[in-house]
Symmetry: C2
Subunit: 145 residues, 2 copies
């Protein structure tokens, strides 16, 4: 098991890619993105449609169209992407999948995972979409392979 669903992995990588291009002021087409992050084009299209509907990214149809991210969204945390795609189970769900698990009715791993979960949440909350851009800019980071 991975931390994120495949859909979410694509989503984050795509948003990073779009953000990278948006920082340079250009819109970017789905083909370009799919190639840039090595994902299935038409599946990614669905994902981006969803992110677009939810207001995380923007898009424009027609010639010179494509996906882009405005200044405000660039400063949103990565946790927003995760929540939209994978929900908040990673942040709040019981590690053993118990619906009633809580402080009062804890599962055997409740205390231990409380710490882990809050750290993941904090990390994703404190990392903004453009937070990594400088490094990505310098070609020091990878979004493919």
């Amino acid at each position: 098991m991975a931390i994120f669903s495949k859909t979410c992995e694509y989503a984050i990588r795509a948003v990073f890619y779009i953000a990278h291009k948006s920082a340079a002021g250009t819109k970017v087409g789905i083909k370009d993105i799919a190639t840039g992050i090595d994902s299935p084009e038409l599946y990614l299209a669905k994902i981006l449609q969803d992110l677009s509907r939810k207001g995380l990214i923007s898009s424009a149809k027609g010639p010179n169209g494509g996906f882009y991210i405005n200044e405000a969204s660039l400063n949103r945390p990565i946790s927003d992407i995760v929540e939209v795609v994978d929900g908040n189970n990673l942040f709040y769900g019981c590690a053993l999948g118990l619906k009633q698990c809580s402080e009062i009715n804890p599962c055997p791993l409740h205390e231990q995972f409380k710490a882990i979960r809050s750290q993941i949440h904090e990390l994703l909350d404190n990392t903004t979409i453009n937070g990594f851009n400088e490094e990505l800019m310098n070609g020091l980071l990878s979004l493919r392979k």
Copy 2:
């Protein structure tokens, strides 16, 4: 997305349940376990067959048979269950699903998740199967709902 697959959630809960019974010296049948942890009986049977083949738990056929855990296995870490069922991706895999992600070729979240991953690994490595038994014994912990 949850941290563990559903299969792994069932596996951990079942092993805890068996351990709890084994501490009292009794074998426990699949029906009992399935009821005890609220999981689909026949699916759980498959999972336990697997854990048994891998040597994490033991089983005996026939009357008075059932599943149990020996002393040695009781002291194994929970990470062993996770590795058997979900593999080691949670401990070593890239958060963004990139195969080539590494110290030399890091994904944008590499550094941040390195810390998280090692904490999860450490936690599961340092928690033994019977580590929680006392609390479970006192009915302070839940494996259902």
